[in-house]
């Protein structure tokens, strides 16, 4: 492998690398979204039990997955930033949080809209739902803490400590599922009506998930670039960058 990773761990070279990657991810995301939405509405057949309501699954599940993945990735980058004092990784962590919070919100929202027709209630206090809500609070806490701190270096480090402590919490919340009676993912959902339909649904869900992945990466890259500019506005390379563009 000839890639020099250290080269890209400096904000300046990351900035230009990210600039090249963003269009690629954006376009792939767009195409996958179109394909995914087409499958969701025009290829996937009507569900025998839930009629059309089940189509929410095509966004609900990707959003729920993303919400959890992004938290772990955010905590990972924050930890690297804390341990090795690399500014770039902390910036990436900061950039992930809003997207993660948005997907968490979407999982909650689509879940609630699905719950009303399926369970007859917008919300039930079931373990899966509750832990998703807590995840939302963790994101909000992370962002609120960083917003409350003026000094970016302190904000990075404080956010990292919080994110790490939050990670310890996640498996605990997750295991508490056992102790609760679960309504989520119970008999109400019939994924296996027929093998053919299940596989179509699975492809749709997967395509939508990958689209969300690509979308998240593009968003995070753009946001990281903005944060880099904000924080390094007084360095030489930023002003040289400006000479080039103007």
């Amino acid at each position: 492998m000839a890639i020099n990773w250290f080269k890209y761990s400096s904000p300046a070279s990351f900035y230009s690398l990210a600039g090249k990657l963003i269009p690629i991810f954006s376009i792939v995301a767009l195409i996958l979204f179109v394909v995914g939405l087409y499958i969701s509405f025009f290829v996937a057949p009507t569900d025998f039990q839930q009629s059309e309501a089940y189509r929410i699954i095509f966004i609900h599940v990707p959003a729920a997955w993303m919400s959890m993945f992004l938290y772990l990735i955010m905590a990972g980058w924050a930890a690297i930033g804390l341990a090795f004092n690399t500014r770039l990784s902390s910036m990436i962590a900061t950039a992930i949080a809003p997207t993660g919070a948005m997907f968490t919100f979407l999982a909650l929202w689509t879940g609630a809209l699905w719950g009303k027709p399926m369970w007859g209630a917008w919300w039930v206090w079931d373990a899966r739902l509750t832990s998703e809500l807590i995840l939302f609070f963790l994101y909000i806490g992370f962002m609120a803490l960083q917003a409350a701190i003026d000094d970016p270096r302190r904000a990075d480090k404080a956010g990292a400590v919080l994110a790490l402590v939050g990670v310890v919490n996640i498996p605990i919340i997750y295991f508490s599922v056992k102790w609760w009676n679960t309504l989520h993912q119970g008999a109400t959902v019939s994924l296996t009506e027929s093998p053919k339909m299940a596989s179509i649904m699975l492809t749709g869900m997967l395509i939508m998930s990958i689209a969300c992945w690509m979308y998240s990466i593009a968003m995070v890259l753009i946001r990281t670039r903005t944060i880099i500019l904000e924080r390094e506005r007084h360095t030489v390379w930023v002003s040289e960058l400006h000479k080039e563009t103007t």
């Binding site: 929410i56 966004i59 809209l113 946001r223």
Partner: protein
């Protein structure tokens, strides 16, 4: 899978409110985030070029005086 008519498509077998409520909010959130992120970047770039000009002028003044 084909829909009989547009209104059929919109009603989603009676679940239109829930399905469209989900998908619309999903799209609004994604598009909204894109707009916000790009907006933030644009205002920052504008700010930067302003300060950049200001410092350039300062330097010019210094050299002339």
């Amino acid at each position: 899978m084909a829909w009989a008519s547009l209104s059929d498509f919109l009603s989603m077998g009676g679940y239109g409110f829930y399905v469209w409520g989900s998908f619309l909010v999903f799209l609004i959130c994604l598009v909204g985030e894109v707009v916000l992120v790009l907006n933030r970047r644009r205002t920052l770039l504008k700010q930067l070029s302003l300060t950049h000009k200001a410092t350039k002028n300062e330097k010019n003044n210094e050299t002339t005086t």
